[in-house]
Subunit: 906 residues, 2 copies
């Protein structure tokens, strides 16, 4: 670490050394605290230790740069000056919180220590100052519990059996006391109780951890800082980063901030709010608060909070008094601040506040998470309000959020006729249906077995994250809209209901009690996460996109920004129509072989098999003639449905043996039809076997060895187009040759195409059939010799599935044996079949485009692999200058968004 | 064709418009005729029509450029002037020959027409002039036979049944006449006979071909030119070009030259000679001649020729009178000319001459073909004689010729005890052994069935070329050292015996009569092509290289020129020793898995299988421990045998299922040893199955999922090296990781290697074990991200087999289904697994080297695929800056030569 680098950034007293743009260095929390301080918003003063210190910490065996102590002392002195308090002082002691703050929010994944600075020496001073001995010992027992757990056990790397952790042991001691005294809640404990408890806690800590709890403010502070940095590499944090694709190298910042207390009685409170409703996007200040509580009480979901104002009231909390009514002055101040902040940030914010004896403090502000429908509505609304630009609007919805809108919902007509079992808070939108499981491990296990599950919990905590991921939806009995379950589900756009108080969960028996019924593990339920209700059994689902009126507005904004064309992969007139409705601007991949896979494909499949098993050109030609009408029907129908738009039709691609029946009866029937005996038939069939079929006799290689197969398909294309032209349509077929590795293969096929073209024009009397002739680029060599290939090919379409297979030498059918290990061991950042490997395969793509366009300036370039519907891959396609991407009809809206975002980002 | 281009080049009268360097334009024959004319060598005057006219001819539907007629007329007038004769003239008519002449010699593959200009009008003049009516009508009947066949039938594209060609019909008429008159040879026919025959020939030509034979000198001339150009695309020529890799685009030139006659009686002769012996390289003028004959008689092998001088005498022709004795004056002149020409050309020449009434004419001179031993000896001798430089010497031996020396010969000790069946001319060196077949079709067919065959023929002709190619060796009853069979076999370095007069071939019965025995089709014989004798049965073969004393001298010259290092692929101490003898400078590929394939591998294979089938790390570790001593033994022995030289050791590469037994007994034994039941065993075994194993779980992927497997191998390497160091040796292992696609894979393996290294150093007390750590580049992506990979890898070794498989998407096991078609249809120039595809795969190689060396300047780069022993690929490796190539021990000498030639060529 360079000596000159600033390691500690101060904020408070109306100014901040950092600002909101410095998230990489200060983390999101630190950057925003600095920004708020500079804006004059009342923020408890403090300072942020940078993420660079975290990096240094890990590179140097958990040691700090030499000068940091002095920097921290200086910043602390500044805090003391503003607060008029002294850290570790006996008369007016300063307490601080020590919190994590990474570049990207990782809710609940890292550690926090509160009330740091409470010691035997400072306690009397604080009691004198607050006049509340109970409050001080309550704060002290919280410090002891957190500190022993987070700093003395976890950060020290002590591993314990599940129930033997220091936290659990202290919990048991407190439970014992409450039981002994007959208390039901923590608040019933007296100052004396708490004082005794603290003494017991300290003795237990020493006994269990073989170490004294440090009775020194500075030791506590550095212990807390250590613990926060250490928690960056805690198990939960690592597992969260894997899911969210957050790089290990980022590190966290540490925020040290003077404590303010929402738990100083009825004039104190704490809360979490959003400048707009994060669940549906409505432009109302929206939030929850608890009187006489600390922030963790709201997030933990142990008490159900009240609404911050009347417009935040819901079914669930309509009986509670709002903050607006309870503390009108503080509320007005809060409302003014949230308005100021939203205007300043040009976005919906998630804010945390504490009211200490009627005085408002802002503890945090950050851009708020929101679900898909809310994101779309806010983007469209804020654009209308001129709060943001078109480009900003496009960036305000993630592809995953848009995906939520395209997720299924319960069919509303059916739903009307069903009575919900119970109602909770609508924490994650859409519908979901699955079998009940009661813990995260089961959720993961059942999902592996291919089952759809709903994870049902009292409440969730960070240990449950992987199970939540595996589940179709999450249902909890406790917690509010800002509880752990709600936050996580919203981030993922997953269907979720929280705080469903009328259900009872019996983990031991694996039973759910609801509405007088007992449901067991494995029973089916259906959730409506948008309304917050759930039903017994499986209800039918439907497409949600038609229900959202802002969706089309938003996608039109995307279209006005994007440069890439969006096509679809479709092989039937029905799919073509559907894709046009989704906004497809053509077909990027029509697979001629598709008709042999689908339902009702018996007759064409039989004819195809006959063609494959033919031993002579004459036999094969006969089978091809019989096959012709089927091939032509699908092509013509699709060209017609895509009238005026381009349709890329790929000639037969898969290795022929894929179509050869293994079934003895089918083989016998085919043998009979071909008039050959069974032995001869089996000999022919077996001769088609290949050791590595993916690199075998397929694609254009079939068209070279059996030119008559190409001829039949090309004839179907030109005849269909000619007939449509005569009927007044404007078809535009693009004939695509697959599995090409050399220009001569295309030349060979083009010669056939030219002959057929002339024949069809002559036969139909159509003078010109507009079309293009091109190739897939899916073999690595094709990308390398693209300059030659473009001499003949008028367009390229990247087949990134095969390009990835051959570029990596990964057989997609076989990667199960090692790729999971590769991802777990950090060798691959992810599955390259999901998102294009931009470094390696991307390089091949770039080379191909550069060389191709050098030969043919106006070469049309697209992608038709499955990556064509994946946002990061789409951005890559935009950057390398492709003309279009093609994806499944359902992914077309995502692609439109991703294409627009690609423009804004680059 | 640009108007300004010169189309006709004159030669004769002491000057030539062209020269020997203009082979591309004038063909070899034309260029050398011009050169000889300029040197003052007596050449019959004539002119050459360029290869560019041939190209024009084919691009313009067999039409000529407009101005060519005038150019030809002008050149012809020049010839007439020098010869004092008139083409088509009645008193002193000029006759000309019309011959092909391509850039590279294609003996007998294209057409020739002689005696052009003989018509009813010119015949009397020629009779008057020569005073020999018989000679003139003999020339006329030859013209009629050739012209009707070559021009009127073949060039006109008339196809006939095998025995109904015009040539065959005229042959039959002549045979009938001879039978009728009781003649045994052609020379017995009188002038009257021939005159009558000519009349019959003309009538038959008209009847069969429905066209008059053109009785016009100019028509004959242009017919001949047409025919020669047309024969460039004759079937024979095309098939020869395929075998010899001669591009179709080159085209042929046409040489029109005034006729001189070697058949004007006893003072006339014709011959073919070499400035040194082409069969063994001896520095003696060597050749054959026939009195009273035309050149075609020598080449056709219908009469056995005499030696040109006493030193050319052999067993075979020692009773014949040499030209030196028969025509001493002409011989002295010829000898002076050959000396002058060799000195001028700095190479051994093949010359054709004719003596017309004691006057010597040189008809042709070209660099002479020679067999491998001769080529090596000539190169070494000429270098000593200072006739050529070191660089020229290196270029004088083709890799194929060197290969001949490395071909097997009959084990001399066994051969001593066997009596030859017969003796002929030693036309192609080395030994060969195979089953007798009697025609080219059978040779090709039997070869396809995997049989080794010897093609036995009366004599061969161009129709036999493919059969000759398929055969191990060729044996003919007739013909001399310049006969068709001898020329072709010498060009290929194939074992061949010609002119074996004591054998009789019965095609109908498929029998060979020799030494009183009857041998049938399928009987085994063994040929000694170096001595010209053959034996009944199969005699044992041995390596020939030790027998050639010039070979080492020559290879040392190569070593002094080459830049590339030459390593070998070897896995046993024995192979390592052998390869060092061949000149290997290290091992480029030691395959650790090799020991499981060979003989006596039962125990290690069983242990490997045990390791593979292990279900737990503990089971696997146990099997690995048992396997360890076997792995170490081979590695240590090989490192010791290659003392002081580098040994690249590749970690386990193939997919594991390759080693899993299919056999039920073996499976049962293994299951028992692993203490699992058969069902469980089969389940595990079957789970290893892959759809595309070539792109499956193999190479480093095994080392990632089973780090303990890598660890065991690396331990064996370091321990072997450490023990050898302690014994005073200098081992230099290079640890190579296969199937790498990303730098992180190598990092993962390097971590293991570093741990093992430290352990071994500690255990053995050896402080430093010199070694390198590197990777194969065989996955396309690895070449693309080579810059990253070189951060960790200290060397690259290109695995071009896999790189070709994945770069092309060609599974080598499956290309049989389409690659032959690709080559036949001209889509691929050849099998990319034989010679590196420089355009596509070569591009990947270049990218990898550039990017790798950009990161690590001194990166060692080599190749260990099978291409490493293939000359064109070696040249490519040199050009792209590799440090070494590695090939099988036997190919090392070839690689040394190819590496030296690469330097000279570039």
């Amino acid at each position: 670490m360079a000596k000159s680098k600033k390691m500690v950034y101060f904020f408070g007293g109306g100014k901040g050394e950092g600002n909101a743009k410095m998230k990489e260095l200060l983390g999101g929390k630190g950057a925003n605290l600095a920004e708020m301080a500079s804006l004059g918003v009342p923020v408890p003063p403090g300072f942020t230790i940078t993420t660079e210190v975290c990096t240094y910490f890990y590179k140097n065996k958990k040691k700090y740069p030499a000068t940091i102590k002095a920097d921290v002392e200086k910043a602390l002195a500044n805090v003391e000056k503003i607060m008029g308090k002294k850290f570790g002082g006996t008369t007016n002691p300063l307490l601080v919180s020590v919190r994590s703050g990474a570049r990207s929010s990782m809710p609940g994944m890292m550690e926090t220590v509160l009330n740091v600075g409470l010691t035997e020496e400072t306690i009397p001073g604080l009691i004198a100052l607050s006049g509340d001995e109970r409050f001080v010992y309550d704060a002290y027992r919280r410090l002891l519990m957190m500190y022993s757990d987070v700093v003395m056990e976890k950060a020290a790397g002590i591993e314990t059996a599940d129930d033997m952790g220091i936290r659990k042991q202290l919990d048991r001691i407190m439970d014992q006391l409450k039981k002994q005294k007959g208390y039901k809640t923590d608040t019933e404990m007296t100052a004396e109780d708490l004082k005794g408890l603290c003494a017991k806690f300290k003795a237990t800590i020493k006994e269990v951890l073989k170490k004294e709890f440090p009775d020194d403010a500075n030791k506590q502070l550095w212990g807390g800082i250590d613990a926060v940095f250490s928690s960056w590499n805690g198990k939960r944090a690592i597992s969260y980063r894997r899911i969210e694709n957050i790089p290990d190298e980022w590190g966290t910042a540490v925020n040290v901030q003077s404590m303010v207390f929402g738990n100083l009685g009825e004039t104190s409170a704490t809360g979490v709010a959003f400048t707009r409703n994060p669940g549906n996007g409505d432009n109302h200040f929206y939030g929850e608060y608890l009187v006489n509580a600390q922030g963790e009480d709201v997030v933990a979901g142990t008490r159900t909070p009240g609404p911050v104002n009347e417009s935040s009231k819901s079914e669930h909390n309509k009986t509670e008094v709002s903050l607006e009514k309870k503390m009108p002055k503080a509320y007005r101040e809060l409302d003014a601040i949230q308005k100021k902040l939203e205007k300043h940030y040009h976005d919906m914010l998630d804010i945390e506040f504490t009211i200490e004896n009627n005085r408002l403090f802002m503890l945090q502000c950050r851009v708020g998470k929101r679900n898909g429908p809310a994101a779309v509505k806010m983007a469209v609304d804020m654009l209308k309000e001129k709060l943001i630009t078109k480009e900003q609007a496009v960036m305000r919805v993630t592809p995953a959020q848009l995906d939520e809108l395209l997720h299924p919902i319960i069919d509303p007509i059916t739903e009307k006729d069903h009575k919900p079992l119970a109602k909770g808070l609508p924490a994650g939108p859409g519908g979901a249906c699955g079998q009940i499981v009661f813990n995260a491990v089961d959720a993961v296990e059942w999902k592996k077995q291919g089952k759809d599950v709903i994870l049902v919990r009292e409440e969730t905590n960070p240990e449950d994250v992987e199970g939540m991921r595996a589940a179709q939806a999450i249902l909890t009995a406790r917690g509010g809209m800002t509880s752990h379950a709600a936050l996580v589900a919203r981030g993922w756009g997953k269907c979720c209901i929280v705080g469903c108080g009328s259900i009872e969960v019996d983990y031991a028996k694996k039973q759910l009690h609801v509405a007088g019924k007992v449901m067991n593990e494995g029973d089916w339920i259906t959730l409506n996460g948008t309304k917050g209700v759930f039903y017994a059994g499986k209800l039918p689902m439907m497409d949600a996109s038609r229900e959202n009126k802002e969706l089309n507005d938003f996608l039109k904004v995307c279209d006005s920004v994007k440069k890439l064309g969006i096509r679809t992969n479709a092989e039937t007139p029905e799919d073509a129509v559907k894709a046009r409705q989704f906004g497809a601007e053509g077909i990027g991949l029509f697979r001629t072989e598709h008709m042999f896979y689908g339902k009702g494909a018996d007759q064409p499949l039989f004819l195809l098999r006959k063609m494959i098993m033919s031993n002579t050109v004459a036999e094969r030609q006969k089978a091809l003639d019989q096959l012709y009408p089927f091939v032509k029907k699908d092509i013509k129908g699709t060209l017609e449905a895509m009238d005026k738009l381009p349709v890329v039709i790929r000639l037969l691609d898969p290795p022929l043996h894929e179509f050869v029946p293994q079934d003895a009866d089918k083989r016998a029937a085919l043998a009979k039809d071909l008039n050959i005996n069974a032995d001869e038939f089996n000999k022919r069939a077996d001769s088609l076997h290949e050791s590595n079929p993916m690199m075998g006799h397929r694609g254009v290689r079939l068209g070279i060895t059996y030119p008559e197969v190409s001829r039949m398909q090309i004839k179907a294309i030109f005849e269909s187009a000619a007939e449509l032209i005569k009927a007044g349509k404007k078809p535009y077929p693009e004939i695509m040759i697959p599995v090409v590795c050399d220009v001569k293969e295309i030349e060979f096929q083009l010669k056939i195409a030219k002959e057929v073209y002339a024949e069809v024009c002559k036969k139909t009397g159509v003078k010109k059939i507009p079309h293009m002739f091109g190739t897939m680029i899916e073999i690595p060599r094709a990308a390398l010799v693209a300059g030659e290939i473009a001499k003949v090919a008028e367009f390229f379409s990247y087949g990134t599935n095969d390009l990835t297979q051959m570029g990596f030498g990964f057989s997609r059918d076989d990667i199960g044996g090692f790729v999971p290990d590769y991802i777990n061991k950090g060798i691959l950042p992810g599955d390259p079949f999901q998102s294009i490997d931009q470094v390696g395969i991307g390089e091949l793509i770039k080379i191909g485009i550069e060389r191709g366009r050098k030969t043919r300036k106006n070469l049309e370039v697209g992608i038709c692999g499955e990556h064509g519907g994946e946002p990061a891959s789409i951005e890559f396609c935009h950057k390398v200058g492709m003309d279009y991407v093609s994806c499944s009809p359902f992914r077309v809206p995502i692609a439109r968004l991703a294409a627009a975002q690609a423009v804004v980002k680059n």
